[in-house]
Amino acid sequence: MELMPKIPVAEWISSATDWVTDTFEFLFDFIKNDFGDFIEIFAEDWLMGIPIWLFIVIVGLLAFFVSGKRFGLMAFSVIGLWFIANQELWEELMNTFTLVIFASLISVIIGVPFGIWMAKSKVVEKVLTPILDFMQTMPAFVYLIPAVAFFSIGMVPGVFASVIFATPPTVRFTNLGIRQVSHELIEASDSFGTTGTQKLFKVQLPMAKKTIMAGINQTVMLALSMVVIASMIGAKGLGQTVITGLQRAEVGTGFVAGLGIVILAIIIDRFTQNLNTQRGD
């Protein structure tokens, strides 16, 4: 052991992070302030501005139509949301919902183009696959550290850490979906003289839609699973209540907040699954 001094990997990473923090301070400040403000407005002014009863009615109606005019999802959504409101966790729910929405949206906006790029090039696929593996296997807590370094505490670093953790499925499934389009259909498209863009938008993406949507569903679920972890760096929401329960050893409080997360998860999952239908099936 003496032959080989300890390689200072930790130091390297730290100084690299410091360098990034200093160099891109203006960018991080901009995101932290302006984007942070926007998130706050979205959660506190818009979502919380809607009366609880109206919010529940709207979700109930959406559930009814999204699920093909059946009552199951509607009943569950209405009763679930009412229960959370009844437990006086409505504001926490709205904050959590905001975090999930922003993290998922950013993940999809980043993930789909990367997935397409990956599908178009074998080299890109070879390079990205281990990076995606790394992103998903690294304990999610680790992302909190640079997130705090870049954005201090609050919702923004929460979204940042969630995006890193939740993006890989969208990238993977987009790649998979496009690669799964049958060779003959690609030939048919080519034989009619499509350009690369025409082929992508008229054939590959529509055909891959189901798979991509399954990936997005996974992304949303992963973002939701980051809620509790992100609240350790000050992201508001149900996660914070869970952490409080943990710190004060209040089993009941933690359980109820956890139940709230489960209800939200089920509603979002069923919504995205029901939206995932393809023409011609």
Binding site: S182, E184, L185, E187, A188, D190, S191, F192, G193, T194, T195, Q198, K202, V203, P206, M207, K209, Q278, R279, G280, D281
Partner: protein, 400 residues
């Protein structure tokens, strides 16, 4: 000028394909090249021309390279060597933009497993080629409807491909290809995935459409019966090489080598061969010059019981039987007119074997092959049986 000209076109799959082409030049076989270089020969120096308005069939068993060959023609597969001229322009060296234009305007393809877009309606599928060209909505929808109407699917435009049967799906595939109004239709085993009855129906329809469309069609198939049915000319492929090109008759009657012969062995020849292939040179007597004695002598020499009677211009007058002739000879009659029989079983040169079979079955005399009243040849029962059995028949049919 032929619309498609293929010159020394080769495709070798695998690394260092260019290097392996040297072995092709040395005339090495597919197996030898695979052993030496690890490369698979897809198409080996194929050359042929397709004339405008022709149905040119490329026929071969699986692995013979026929599907690769058709994909080289619209460059879905990049050729390793050689040229493909469409309207005189070499596709093999074209840049991407020009290649797209050729694909959009001149070549359309129909696929074995239909390759319809499942997320698009029948109409949207048929519109695809025009949509890609940027034709505006109302015009492309009208053209697509017209071409769906043409294949008999006018009533299904809003269905999805998954809701249609195989035969109907392939009609959509055909309509999609035709909506572009291409010069050349490439049909890759277009009917092979259909069951036999539907397949035959589609073949008939294609031929019927072709009567009015007069497109140039390059049709790929592994089914010789199909090739013989629809092809104006057929190219037979084996191991990436074209072993014979010819009309259906030429291929059946004069197989270029053992491989082709083996191939055509099982064909129902009665559907393809006609009178001219099995008729032989007739023994005749001249009604103006010859009397019963000459006739009798000629029949005795040839061992015939009847003989056809013509004039100097080969106009057919009738036939006489041995019995009648010897009777007349005894009576010292000078000419044949009195004993001439005119109930002649007649067929034309292109009468099919199947029909000849029925006629010859009821006839005591050989069947006469007649064109414009002139005797071209005769068919004896033995020749019909021999032809069905697949032995030698004469190709050009004249033999006279």
């Amino acid at each position: 000028m032929p619309i498609i000209q293929v010159k020394d076109l080769s495709k070798i799959f695998g690394k260092n394909a260019k290097k392996a082409t040297q072995y092709l030049d040395q005339g090495l076989s597919k197996e030898e090249i695979l052993e030496k270089t690890g490369n698979t020969v897809g198409v080996n120096r194929a050359s042929f021309d397709v004339e405008e308005g022709e149905i040119f069939v490329i026929m071969g068993l699986s692995g013979s390279g026929k599907s690769t060959l058709v994909r080289l023609i619209n460059r879905l597969i990049e050729p390793t060597e050689g040229s493909v001229y469409i309207d005189g322009k070499d596709l093999a060296t074209m840049d991407k933009k020009s290649l797209r234009d050729v694909r959009r305007e001149k070549l359309s393809m129909v696929f074995q497993r239909f390759a319809l877009f499942p997320h698009r309606t029948v109409l949207e599928n048929a519109e695809f080629g025009l949509e890609v060209q940027g034709v505006d909505k109302s015009e492309r929808s009208q053209k697509a409807k017209d071409s769906l109407e043409m294949v008999g699917l006018g009533g299904y435009i809003n269905q999805f491909p998954g809701q249609l049967s195989g035969g109907m799906q392939q009609r959509v595939g055909l309509a999609r290809a035709l909506a572009n109004d291409p010069e050349v239709l490439l049909m890759d085993e277009a009917f092979s995935a259909l069951d036999p009855l539907i397949r035959k129906e589609m073949q008939d329809e294609l031929l019927e459409l072709q009567e009015t469309m007069k497109k140039t069609i390059l049709f790929i198939t592994h089914d010789l019966d199909e090739a013989l049915r629809i092809g104006d000319r057929i190219a037979l492929m084996k191991d990436g090489r074209i072993v014979q090109i010819g009309t259906p008759e030429e291929i059946l009657v004069n197989p270029a080598n053992d491989y082709v012969e083996k191939f055509v062995e099982d064909v129902d020849r009665s559907k393809v061969l006609s009178a001219e292939h099995i008729m032989k040179r007739p023994e005749t007597v001249d009604v103006e010059k010859h009397g019963p004695r000459t006739a009798l002598e000629r029949m005795r020499k040839e061992g015939l019981s009847t003989i056809y009677v013509t004039d100097a211009k080969r106009n057919l007058h009738g036939y006489v039987t041995a019995d009648d002739v010897s009777e007349a000879a005894k009576k010292e009659v000078k000419d044949l007119k009195g004993i001439l029989r005119t109930d002649i079983p007649k067929v034309e040169k292109d009468t099919s074997m199947q029909e000849i079979f029925d006629i010859i079955h009821d006839s005591p005399v050989p069947v006469a092959v007649v064109e414009d009243g002139k005797l071209q040849g005769i068919i004896v029962r033995g020749a019909v049986i021999a032809a069905l059995a697949g032995s030698e028949v004469n190709l050009n049919g004249t033999n006279a």
